[in-house]
């Protein structure tokens, strides 16, 4: 807050305006007792938020996603309660209050999240200067300094409370950093470029190579999402088993076992595809022993060439 005051910027948006019109469309079926319970659970009173303001935030959040149900479905009181119990109420209320420009909320946010945000940025960038710069940029963005069509845009509005607010902040920082890195990487000059040596004549017949490429592509596409993720994270990204295990929330040995199963399954599938294309088993095994440099298979492209339409709503502006 002091930083914002120092730069001459202060939140001006009210909570009601930040919640939008959903507050006016308050579902009559929402239980007051439930709101009272949610008010206590949100701990918003610790940073002096009024209960009415908290109720408006909660109602607006529920109206945005219709309690996690499909549209035009009227949620029962149990579904409403289950929806709110599945959220991190304290973080949601704080984020929405900050997005609305509540000063007390910002004070609480700065007190509890400012320094962790800087440390997370430093950890992500690997540099203190870059980390502080990244954290300041995100902080300014969170505060709503960015405007579009004359309206403040606060990324905190997109926080829906399924994970922790600090985790959301870290993920947002990581997104900013990765996107920035990818943008700037294209602009970096290539200092040393070694022209690849001329490939010797392939020992495998071109026809067999084309059959092998087709078989590998089909085999990788046949893997399920988890196996493709394991293969990509391990072989393409170079992540360790422990890192993958922490992301998936499983044990390291489980990742190793699944990874081995994925590679074995992919190999068998390739052999099967080769045999189905008219090769004998022996010829298929010999084809698998071909020099990988003779293959025109881009595993990265192959593994990451699958478009998913699931996240259309997350399209970039």
């Amino acid at each position: 807050m002091a930083y914002l005051e120092g730069v001459g910027m202060a939140p001006t948006e009210s909570v009601a305006s930040a919640a939008g019109t959903a507050i006016d469309a308050l579902p009559p079926a929402l239980d007051r007792a439930l709101l009272q319970e949610l008010w206590r659970a949100s701990e918003a009173h610790t940073w002096h938020l009024e209960q009415t303001e908290c109720d408006q935030i909660l109602i607006a959040t529920a109206a945005e996603s219709n309690y996690g149900l499909a549209k035009d479905v009227l949620a029962t009181s149990q579904q409403q309660a289950a929806f709110f119990r599945g959220l991190r109420l304290a973080d949601v209320v704080l984020a929405r209050a900050c997005a609305a420009g509540n000063e007390r909320a910002w004070q609480h946010f700065v007190a509890h999240y400012r320094q962790p945000l800087v440390r997370a940025a430093i950890a992500i960038t690997g540099s203190e200067a870059l980390g502080r710069e990244l954290a300041d940029q995100l902080y300014a963005e969170l505060y709503g300094l960015t405007e579009r069509d004359g309206e403040r845009r606060c990324p905190l509005k997109s926080y829906r409370g399924r994970g922790s607010l600090m985790g959301w902040l870290r993920t947002t920082l990581a997104q900013r950093h990765v996107d920035h890195h990818r943008r700037t990487r294209r602009e970096e000059p290539i200092d040393e470029f070694d022209a690849p040596a001329l490939d010797p004549a392939p020992q495998t017949q071109p026809r067999e190579l084309s059959v092998l490429e087709c078989a590998i592509e089909m085999a990788l596409r046949a893997r399920d999402a988890e196996e493709r993720y394991l293969l990509a994270a391990y072989y393409l990204d170079g992540q360790t088993l422990l890192e993958i295990a922490r992301v998936l929330g499983v044990h390291e040995a489980t990742v190793s076992r699944k990874l081995r199963r994925a590679t074995d399954g992919a190999r068998k599938q390739v052999l099967k595809n080769l045999q189905s294309s008219g090769m004998s088993r022996r010829a298929a095994e010999e084809a698998l022993g071909a020099d990988p440099r003779d293959l025109d298979v881009n595993l990265k492209k192959l593994l990451q060439n699958s478009q998913t339409a699931t996240f259309k709503e997350q399209a970039a502006p």
Partner: protein
């Protein structure tokens, strides 16, 4: 959201964070995972966010437990384990040491009980048979034997190994030295010097002053001391007796009296009153002949001792740490330290000495001893004076020479 990556659509930060925190339902998780499988950018985002979270956890201060007032006791807890181990080791060491000591003592005590039979035979068949004055089988050994034998048969049954003394024992023989009670042995040990192989170092074991009966306190005290001494010496001589049995000398020309014990190699303890024949478990008929008795005198009959002359001793007598030995050539040697060192005694007798022995009844012999020698005996005004031992040398012509110190010999 950024659109700079190769994919047009990405999960938002809330979905990725919820995925990383395992907060998504299965359907949403599958969708995010499918996207991560093909999107390197989102995989990198998730990985970086996870890495930052771990760094935050690592940097978070660890809550420290407050130091309690009794923390010094907690610090000593670390030393409790080695201290307990040390105490246990010491306890085991002490226990085993005590047990070994007890075992050694028991072995020393059990050596005499290993003797299966103790017989009391008359010391000299030529003389009238003598009843042991103190009811020899009794361990207490303090009761007169003459009248109690008939009155207290259970006492006699208590020592089945002992030969009951003849009832016609003359009362005069009660003046003979009393056998001492032997702890661990059923019979009283013989008085005076013993035959070789029994207790070589026991000096004056059976010689009790006759007037001890008139001084019971002194007598009991001396008896206790002698009992302790005999225990110690028995343990010492147990091993030497085993070694001596290997060098059992051939039968000598000593007297044979009394029935030899049958089927046993024996060592003989002779005294003026009685002889103890200890039957050993490995009998040999040849060794029975060596159980020669010396009448009123005692003599060692198996002599493993090597003398300074290089010849084996053929006869040894011992009394009060004073040992005399005669080798095959008839030379006499004297030892004042129970046989550790020997000195040659000049020849003061005629012929060839064949035997040296101690006259058990020194008082009887004291009359024959030279007056000068008898006066040289130290007087003991506090207790009954113990008569000095009287040694005898027997030459090949059956002539006797007497001496009280082993150095000066006078013909008898």
């Amino acid at each position: 959201m950024s659109a700079t990556s190769q994919h047009e659509f990405h999960p938002d930060a809330d979905s990725l964070n919820a995925f990383a925190e395992q907060a998504l339902v299965d359907r949403e998780r599958g969708d995010v995972l499918a996207h991560l499988a093909v999107c390197g950018r989102c995989r990198q985002v998730v990985a970086l966010a996870r890495e930052a979270a771990e760094a935050e956890l690592a940097a978070s201060p660890v809550p420290r437990t407050p130091i309690r007032a009794n923390s010094w006791l907690r610090g000593w807890r670390l030393a409790l384990a080695p201290a307990a181990a040390l105490v246990a080791t010491a306890a085991f060491a002490i226990y085993f040491h005590e047990r070994d000591a007890e075992r050694t003592a028991e072995m020393a005590k059990s050596e005499p009980p290993a003797i299966t039979q103790i017989e009391k035979i008359p010391a000299n068949p030529a003389q009238p048979k003598v009843a042991p004055p103190a009811a020899a089988p009794s361990a207490k050994g303090s009761q007169p034997a003459s009248s109690d034998h008939a009155l207290k048969p259970p006492l006699r049954r208590a020592a089945p190994a002992a030969v009951p003394p003849p009832p016609e024992a003359p009362a005069a023989m009660s003046q003979l030295p009393m056998p001492l009670p032997m702890p661990g042995a059923e019979s009283a040990p013989g008085a005076g010097a013993r035959e070789e192989g029994s207790v070589p170092s026991r000096a004056n074991g059976g010689e009790m002053p006759r007037d001890e009966k008139s001084m019971p306190a002194v007598s009991e005290f001396k008896q206790e001391q002698r009992a302790l001494e005999s225990q110690r010496q028995q343990a010492q001589t147990a091993q030497s007796r085993i070694l001596a049995a290997k060098e059992w000398p051939p039968a000598s020309e000593q007297d044979t009296s009394g029935p030899p014990p049958s089927n046993a190699a024996s060592s003989v303890e002779s005294s003026s009153a009685q002889l103890e024949v200890r039957v050993e478990p490995s009998p040999s008929l040849a060794t029975k002949k060596q159980l020669q008795l010396g009448g009123l005198f005692s003599a060692r009959m198996k002599i493993p001792t090597r003398l300074p002359s290089g010849l084996p001793a053929v006869s040894i007598a011992e009394a009060e740490h004073c040992m005399l030995a005669i080798d095959r050539e008839g030379a006499l040697f004297l030892s004042q330290d129970s046989g550790n060192t020997w000195e040659h005694v000049d020849r003061q007798w005629t012929g060839r000495a064949v035997m040296v022995r101690v006259h058990a009844d020194s008082t009887a012999a004291s009359g024959a001893a030279p007056a000068a020698q008898l006066q040289a005996a130290p007087a003991n005004p506090g207790a009954a004076p113990s008569p000095p031992p009287l040694f005898e040398i027997l030459n090949d012509k059956s002539q006797l020479w007497l001496s009280t110190d082993g150095k000066i010999w006078l013909p008898k």
